[in-house]
Amino acid sequence: MVRIERQEKKGYFFIKTDKGNITPWKRGQYFIIRFGNNYKGIPSFPFEMGGETVFIIYGEKDIENISNIEGPCGKPLNLSGYSRILFVCNDKGIPAFMNVKQGGKEHIDLLILGSSELAEELGVNYKRINYLEEVREEVNRNNYDLVISAGDNEISKGIEDLNISAEHIACVYTPIRDGTGLCLICRVYVKGEMRLNCVDGRWFIARDIDWDKLKASKKEKAECLRR
């Protein structure tokens, strides 16, 4: 059974379903929530809450009409070899954080850029920052060896521009349609080669990404790019 909890004022919805209804996922994998007869699809990271699998969808009007929950899609995120991990995101990156955190046992600190009603609602421990430069201070102060960024390509690009000493893995946001690697709408240029965010992503070493080309390939409305 899929349950939908409206949080209209906050602009997002919770989609909750019994864990058993969803194919088990690995850390970093996402699902595509499809709506209506046209199977319009929105990628979303799953996480667990109270024995249920939860997806968060922002501002979807057709929410009652879920036709399919497909996945898990994308490559799992492997964090072995890192011991001090910092996750940086905005409000929209919280589901990605929950997914990454729950997918393994490592301790992961969280910095959120700006305020986050969602983090409050989920009771997540985090530190708020107002400027991305604060990431550099945090990395230096706490000797993080890995920074993971999510929520928005601009945040990831901004962190990459800081030239921090830690490795940086970014969650990439592109439109995604089939999730199978057929249509190329989600192409990302990594180390000069075309990769597909839907099947090769959504996690790439940030310094390898061609951020300018990623910006140029934004052919969808902004809202599609933010999930």
Partner: protein, 464 residues
């Protein structure tokens, strides 16, 4: 009295006018009426040696005179049953097969395949007759019983619900095996659903065929990207045999400037419009690169989105792999076709497409494929202004389902290698369709799926 041979009075399938059809994604070929179909069927000479002619020309070897005879007798159920002995999708193949190169190209009225010489007439309209029979059964709601053999207790997994996967699923289910089809997309059909526009192939037909499979007890697992949602290795361990039919469907780009905004793979445009019902913003004028089925389908789609549509192709109409009549159709609908034109660079401004630089070609010596090789005409560079570019230059394999299983040997392009029994290099794993051929036709994929089913059945029953 000897039968009068009707060489020329071929019945022409009625079409919507170009002005009407360009406004709609509904099918433009309207199909034969009963009278037309019976009259066209009567043109058939029912050649005794048809297996050397039209039947041989058909990649799945439909008993063509057999089903046409039934039409002349008014037995459409019999005609349908005759076709589905070999081709389980009459309505689909009747629409999308390039018959002029297959059955109709080998019809004695048009070409004497035994003496290998051209005849003077027009072929029997085999495709339209096949479509008529399939449509009659579907629209009239007549139930054709398809009764599977008793259960064997064997379980088979099929990766991909395109024509190859479906062909294989059908025969294995009929043999009493339990078949599970893993499909990444939310619907069956593969390219027939997400690639071929509904103007050429109504999606109602695919929905109808889906019901047939459900009745046979075939289970579909939609939204499962094998290799990501579930690994192929897990599937291999869970089933008695596996058939990989994941196609060759990854879009392809490949020109300087292809990273600009408003550059699309044809698969993206087709999939977004056909499967997801989106309006893709192609601007006012688009240029499609390519000369095959995919280029035609991209043009059909762009025209219906109200976009000025140009197709650039480096060869000529005669050497293109698309159906000849389709070129006429898109031209009638307003497409501009630039033959012997090779694109060399996509030009951009502020990250967006503003035009495409091309060079004129001329035909030179024959290449490996036997076709004259196009060679550039010096100083013939020119620019076609446009707001978007669509690549329809063929597809690449999509290895996601099998890339993590190195025991399955791949060919140099990344497709799967099989032997004559459709066996891959890993025991119990078979493959067929575009993933082994590198891109062909619906009917060939279907034929391979069905043939592979025969060998899978033998493997399962230990009668190999």
């Amino acid at each position: 009295m000897p039968k009068k041979i009707r060489y020329f009075d071929r019945n022409k399938e009625p079409f919507l006018s170009p002005e009407e059809r360009v406004k709609t994604f509904k099918e433009y070929a309207l199909g034969f009426s009963v009278n037309m179909a019976v009259d066209e069927a009567k043109r058939c000479l029912f050649c005794k040696d048809a297996e050397k002619r039209c039947i041989k020309g058909c990649p799945i070897h439909v008993d063509i005179p057999g089903f046409i005879k039934k039409i002349t007798e008014g037995d459409l159920v019999g005609a349908y049953k005759k076709i589905i002995e070999t081709d389980i999708f009459p309505s689909i193949c009747g629409r999308v097969c390039p018959q002029e190169r297959q059955c109709e190209g080998s019809c004695i009225l048009y070409y004497d395949t035994v003496r290998n010489r051209k005849n003077k007439g027009l072929p029997v309209s085999i495709g339209a007759l096949e479509k008529f029979v399939g449509d009659f059964i579907r629209i009239s709601g007549i139930e054709i019983e398809e009764i599977p053999d008793p259960p064997t207790g064997k379980r088979v997994a099929i990766i991909g619900a395109g024509p190859a996967g479906l062909g294989c699923a059908y025969d294995l289910a009929m043999k009493g095996h339990k078949v599970y089809v893993y499909e990444a997309l939310p619907k069956i059909g593969g390219v027939m659903t997400y690639g071929i526009p509904s103007a050429r192939l109504s999606k109602e037909i695919i929905d109808y065929e889906y019901e047939r499979f459900k009745k046979l007890g075939v289970e579909f697992i939609f939204g499962c990207v094998v290799g990501r949602s579930k690994s192929l290795r897990e599937i291999i361990n869970e089933y008695d045999a596996v058939f990989i039919a994941s196609g060759y469907g990854r879009g392809r780009l490949g020109l300087k400037g292809d990273d600009l905004e408003n550059v699309y793979s044809a698969i993206e445009v087709l999939m977004r419009v056909n499967l997801f019902g989106e309006r893709v913003d192609l601007g006012k004028k688009t240029v499609i690169i390519g000369g095959g089925f995919t280029a035609i389908d991209a043009a059909i789609t762009a025209l219906r989105l109200g976009v000025e549509t140009h197709v650039v192709y480096r060869r000529t109409r005669e050497t293109s792999s698309a159906r000849q009549e389709e070129w006429d159709h898109i031209k009638e609908e307003g497409a501009f076709i630039h033959w012997l034109t090779q694109p060399v660079e996509i030009l951009g401004e502020e990250g967006k497409v503003r035009g495409i630089k091309c060079i004129k070609m001329t035909l030179g010596e024959k290449d490996e494929s036997g076709r004259p090789r196009p060679v550039p005409v010096p100083n013939s560079e020119h620019i076609i202004d446009c707001d978007s570019v669509i690549f329809a230059i063929g597809q690449d394999p999509n290895p996601v389902s099998y890339e993590d299983v190195p025991e399955i040997k791949r060919d140099k392009w990344g497709g799967i290698m099989v032997n004559e029994r459709y066996e891959t290099t890993l025991e119990g794993v078979f493959a067929g369709g575009d993933v082994i051929s590198g891109g062909d036709t619906v009917v060939k994929a279907l034929a391979q799926g069905r043939e592979a089913a025969k060998f899978i059945h033998e493997y399962l029953m230990g009668t190999k």
